[in-house]
Every structure is written in C-alpha cells, then in structure tokens.
C-alpha cells in the first residue's frame, strides 16, 4: 500500500495497513527551523540548506530524507525541497497595510541570525530582515510584514496603524475604498502551483494537500486586530458584515481558481480559522451561525461540486461546540485536534464525531513534545492511536508546528511509535 492509498482509505473511514503520518504536510503540522536543524544533526543526516517555507512561523521545509525516515504519507504542494518539481517559493502574505503580497520567486537568500539563537536558513529573496534595537523587522518592498523580538522564535504580523485602511475603517464606505485587488490570486501563481501539483501527482505516491484555501475570521482578526474584530462581531455588526461580504467574494474567486486549475491533482484542500482558546471557543455557536456558517458553506460547495478533494478545516484550541457545525457544512477533516484544550477529550470526540469526520493531528506540541521524556511521548502517541485509529478516520500529526525547545529524541520517539504501533489491527 502506498502513502496516497493509505491516506485515502483512512479518509474513507476504513482501516488501511497503518495509521497515516504527517509532518509538514500542512502549514500547521510541520516543524520550526530550530528543532528541525537539531533533529537533522541528531540523526546525523547530511548537511543540506534548510529553507523556511512560512517566514512568519519560521517553519522549515521538511527534506525527503526525513519524510522517508519518519514514513510520512502526505506532502504540501507548496513545498520547495525534493520531491518538488519546480523550485519556486509560492506563498501569500498579508502586509501591515492590510494588502496581500503574492510571493513568487526561485531566488533564496541566506539569513543568518546574529543573536543568542543564531541559526542560518534560506528565506525567499523578496523578504528583507532588518535588525533594529531589540527587534527584527521583516519588510517586503517598503512595506512592513512582521516583527520578532531579539532572541524570539516566531515573527508576528504587524498592523501598520497609520497605513492600514481596514484597521481604521469605521463605515461600510471605508471598507469599499480599500483596494482589494491584491487579494486575488494571479494566473502566474496558479499555473506554478498547478505545475507543482501535477508533477507531484504523477511522480510521487504521496497524498497531496493544499491548505491555503481561505480564512475569514483569522484574516479579519489579522487586519482589524484580534480583540477589535471580536467586538466588531457584536457592537459593529454592519461593518463586520460588510467586511465579510467583500472578503467572501474575493476568496470565492480564489477557491474557484484553485479548484479549477489544480483541484484534480490534490487530495485535500484546506481552510482554516482558529476559533478556539485553551478554555473554549472565542465566539458562541450563535455568532458562528450568524457570521460564518453560510459563508463557509458557499466556499465548501465550490470544492465539493468541482472536485473530489476532501475538505480539511484547521481550527486551534477548544472548539468542541463548533465541530457539529463544521460537519453540517461538509468539512471532512478536522485539524489540529488540540486535545489539551478544554472539552477536547479524545474519547468523547471519537465517539461523538468519529464516523463523520477525520481527525488530523493530536500529538501535543505544547506540553508533551517539548517537555516530556521520550517514554512519555511513546505512551502519549500509543494512547492517541488506541483512541483515534479504530475504523480509520485518523491521520497522526503534531497539533501544531513542532517548536523549540522540543528535543530531537522526542520527535524520533513520536514518529517511531506512530509507525510501529499504528499498524492495523490496533493492539490494545
């Protein structure tokens, strides 16, 4: 059984030969550049330049030697290491002024951090990192992209409060004045993605994922401010509706293009909006229905009507009350299954929703992977497999990108256990 067959069987809620494994197949199931470099050293793998594929998250592109070693079954079509096809970095960023930037380049530059963290990695040539006092500031052209404290691990999107019309919008007219064109995906970007997807489809046996479908809530929080958007939804409703209406038109355009141009070559199309906190959803089900449910339904129906791809939905944190809503509108896969958050008990989730939705994720990157001992990691992974694996519908992955200070021993323990213990029928 090859990786692609394995993933597709699991997505049909049947048992393949073993539980499918993901590392780096999506933007939030990969690994941060620091633990990645340490992992390669620990495994005594040959030195290869490490590429940062999502600059904000400092997410490393996982090389094929590690994909093989860890028996990974799914890859992201935006990857830039072998197997790859073309070398173009294809990533879209939201800039401080609220516009989108479409990164297309095959030129990479070496970025060497000269602080206590001090790693070096390749980044796309369109990003300039400037050191200022206590921060690193990343620019694209003359626009600010993100900021990271000295000795920090992640960049963080910056709202340019002077230049961002969306941030400052008070009326529906302000929203209309904003130049939305930058959010439309270009034909060049689409064609390069298609080329990549087609190459990977024909020349590898991996299941293929593209999870940059669209975001609504998270995007709005990004341009309006996380907390400001939450109050927009309550005390500035007409503004919030207007913002989401225009946003939906744009992302519908993009999703139609994605599906039509390369939908036949990808198995999983992903969307994502973090709705959870550690304690509960950010918003109640009523607000979800009022603002989001019908809009997602429109987006998902594009995928359902025009392709055979499975719909993947990423939503961090405690989102138990929303899972049923997602299922209603056609979500096939829920990610990342943050089991440490309140109400995300694995047994309850599997029992209540296991027949209707695939769980993708589960391995705790907040408490277990960084801090536990390898034998505790083994027990953690075994337990997840015991609960989630029966009758398929489970793809094992880290809950989020594996982050510092995760020791390489724990990463190895995770993937070794996933492979060895994940063989069907599951032993209990």
């Amino acid at each position: 059984m090859n990786p692609r067959e394995r993933v597709l069987i699991a997505l049909k809620h049947e048992e393949p030969d073993r539980v499918p494994i993901d590392l780096g197949g999506t933007d939030s199931s990969g690994i941060h550049v620091i633990p990645y470099i340490e992992l390669r050293k620990f495994l005594k793998l040959p030195h290869k330049p490490v590429r940062i594929i999502n600059f904000i998250q400092q997410r490393a592109d996982v090389h094929d030697d590690i994909l093989n070693l860890f028996n990974v079954d799914v890859i992201d079509i935006t990857r830039v290491s072998e197997p790859c096809g073309s070398r173009y970095a294809l990533w879209r960023y939201i800039l401080g002024d609220g516009t989108a930037f479409e990164g297309i380049t095959n030129k990479w530059i070496l970025w060497r951090r000269e602080d206590d963290i001090g790693y070096e990695a390749e980044i796309p040539s369109y990003i300039q990192v400037v050191k200022s006092n206590n921060d690193y500031i990343a620019y694209i052209g003359n626009k600010i992209l993100a900021k990271m404290p000295r000795n920090g691990y992640y960049f963080w999107g910056v709202i340019d409060k002077e230049k961002n019309i969306l941030y400052n919008a008070r009326t529906v007219d302000d929203i209309k004045k904003f130049d939305w064109d930058s959010y439309k995906v270009s034909d060049q970007f689409l064609n390069l993605l298609r080329e990549r997807a087609e190459y990977l489809y024909k020349n590898t046996s991996y299941a293929l994922a593209f999870v940059e479908g669209a975001t609504l809530h998270e995007w709005a929080q990004g341009v309006r401010g996380w907390d400001k958007w939450l109050s927009d939804l309550r005390i500035r409703k007409s503004l919030a509706e207007a913002i989401l209406d225009i946003r939906l038109e744009i992302v519908k355009y993009n999703v139609e293009k994605y599906v039509d141009v390369f939908g036949e070559f990808v198995h999983v199309i992903g969307f994502g909006d973090d709705f959870g906190t550690e304690e509960g959803p950010q918003i109640d089900v009523k607000t979800f229905r009022e603002f989001y449910k019908h809009r997602y339904e429109e987006l998902f129906s594009i995928v359902k009507k025009r392709s055979r791809a499975y719909i993947f939905f990423h939503s961090c944190g405690s989102i138990y009350p929303l899972i049923k809503e997602f299922i209603d509108i056609g979500v096939d896969i829920i990610n990342p299954v943050q089991i440490s958050a309140k109400g995300m008990d694995p047994e309850k989730l599997k029992k209540e929703f296991g027949d209707q939705i695939t769980f993708w994720g589960g391995v705790d990157t907040q408490h277990v992977l960084p801090f536990a001992k390898p034998n505790e990691v083994i027990e953690h992974v075994k337990k997840l497999i015991e609960i989630f694996a029966p009758k398929g519908g489970f793809i094992l992955a880290p809950v989020h990108n594996i982050q510092p200070p995760t020791p390489p021993e724990n990463i190895v323990a995770m993937f070794k256990t996933a492979y060895e213990y994940g063989k069907y029928p599951i032993k209990r």
Partner: protein, 220 residues
C-alpha cells in the same frame, strides 16, 4: 432616579450593549451621580460578566466586549474624576508584562482591564519585557504583585529568569508573583517559583485579591 440609572448602567454592561451603557452613564452624570458610584456599578457588572464567563455562558469575545465598554466609559469618567479630585484608593498595585521574546498581548491586556475594572492600579510594561525591566519596575513602583504573561511554550521559560532576577536583587519577598498564558499550567507555575497561576483573566483577578490580602497580613 440616580439609583435606577445605576442599575441600568450595570445591566447594559452585562448585556454588552455599548450604546446603551454610554447613554445611561451620560444620564447619570446629568443627574449628578458621582463618578466613583458609576465605577462601582461598572465593577459589579464586570464581576457578573466574569461569572458568566466562568460558567461557560459567556465566551472570550464577551469578556473583550465588556472590557471595551468599560474602557470607553472610563474615558468619559476620567476627566470628571480629575476635576472632582475624588480619590480612588486602589486595592493593590500590579506591575504586568509579557515576558522577553514574546510579543503577544491579548491575554495580558485582558487581565489588565479586568484588574483595573476591579479596582487595582496596573502598571503595564508592555510586551517583550526583559527581566531587568521587571526588576527596575519593581524598584520604581513598589507593586504588591508582579504579573507575567506568555503565549509561547518557548518563551514561558523566561518567567523563571524574572523570578531569579527578583531574588538576586532581594526583591522576591516584597512582591507576589502571578503568571498566566495559554501553554502554562499550575505545575509549571510552581516549578518556577511563582506564587500563583491565573488560568484566565477572571480567576487572575480573584487570585490577585487574595495575594494582596496575604501580603497585607504578612506586612503587619
């Protein structure tokens, strides 16, 4: 009349209705209600909002909206307080910040607002705050409590450095330390030598109240 309008202020805050809360506050001012009485009912309202959150009726969005309403009203009241020279004696002073390497401030800001709404004086050091900055602030402001926040697993360990710096300067016994943030646990807080872990903004306020009482008892 003024009693009635105070009840309305509280109710509209609890119902998260910004416009009505502002209207009733303006009315109260017209009636000559003292700003301090308005602040007190707002605090009662915030407490109810906190309880509703704890009971799972309200969500984090609701806490944020309540905080926004509270801040709007304080903007209206503050000039009046200055004019009338009413002295609000805070129940305690808190120095708060997101630790070094971390620039996430939503949780910290929420705790700050909830503390202020509950009568604490809060000195907010902002984000990416080094141990030295915490130490300097403790020397300068002599707070009862030092509050630290972190969103990242990789930065929460910097909380320990702050506690060590306070110890080194001989300041550790003079303050209570409370920590909070998504990846934290009670166990972690204990391990690094904090006095308390605030699981959320509502709980953090209650704990700060208790910590201040403990301090007062130990000081006298």
């Amino acid at each position: 009349m003024s009693q009635e309008v105070l009840v309305k202020i509280k109710e509209s805050l609890v119902n998260l209705d910004l416009d009505r809360t502002i209207d009733f506050v303006k009315k109260a001012i017209e009636y000559g209600v003292k700003p301090i009485d308005i602040i007190n009912v707002l605090a009662d309202g915030m407490k109810i909002v906190g309880d509703l959150y704890e009971r799972g009726v309200y969500f984090v969005a609701d806490l944020i909206i309540a905080s926004e309403i509270f801040k709007e009203i304080m903007n209206i009241l503050e000039p009046l307080i200055m004019r009338e020279k009413e002295v609000l004696k805070p129940i305690g002073r808190v120095v708060i910040g997101t630790v070094e390497g971390d620039i996430h401030d939503i949780g910290k800001n929420l705790v700050t607002t909830m503390l202020r709404a509950n009568g604490f004086e809060v000195i907010d050091l902002g984000v990416d705050v080094s141990p030295q900055k915490f130490v300097d602030a403790v020397k300068q402001y002599k707070p009862d409590i030092v509050g630290m926040s972190a969103l990242l697993t990789s930065t929460m360990i910097n909380m320990k450095k702050v506690i060590e710096a306070l110890e080194k300067e001989g300041l550790r016994d003079k303050v209570k330390v409370i920590v909070g943030g998504a990846p934290l646990t009670e166990k972690f807080a204990k391990e690094i030598g904090a006095d308390a872990y605030g699981e959320n903004a509502v709980i953090a306020v209650e704990i700060c109240r208790k910590l201040v009482e403990e301090l007062r008892r130990s000081r006298y």
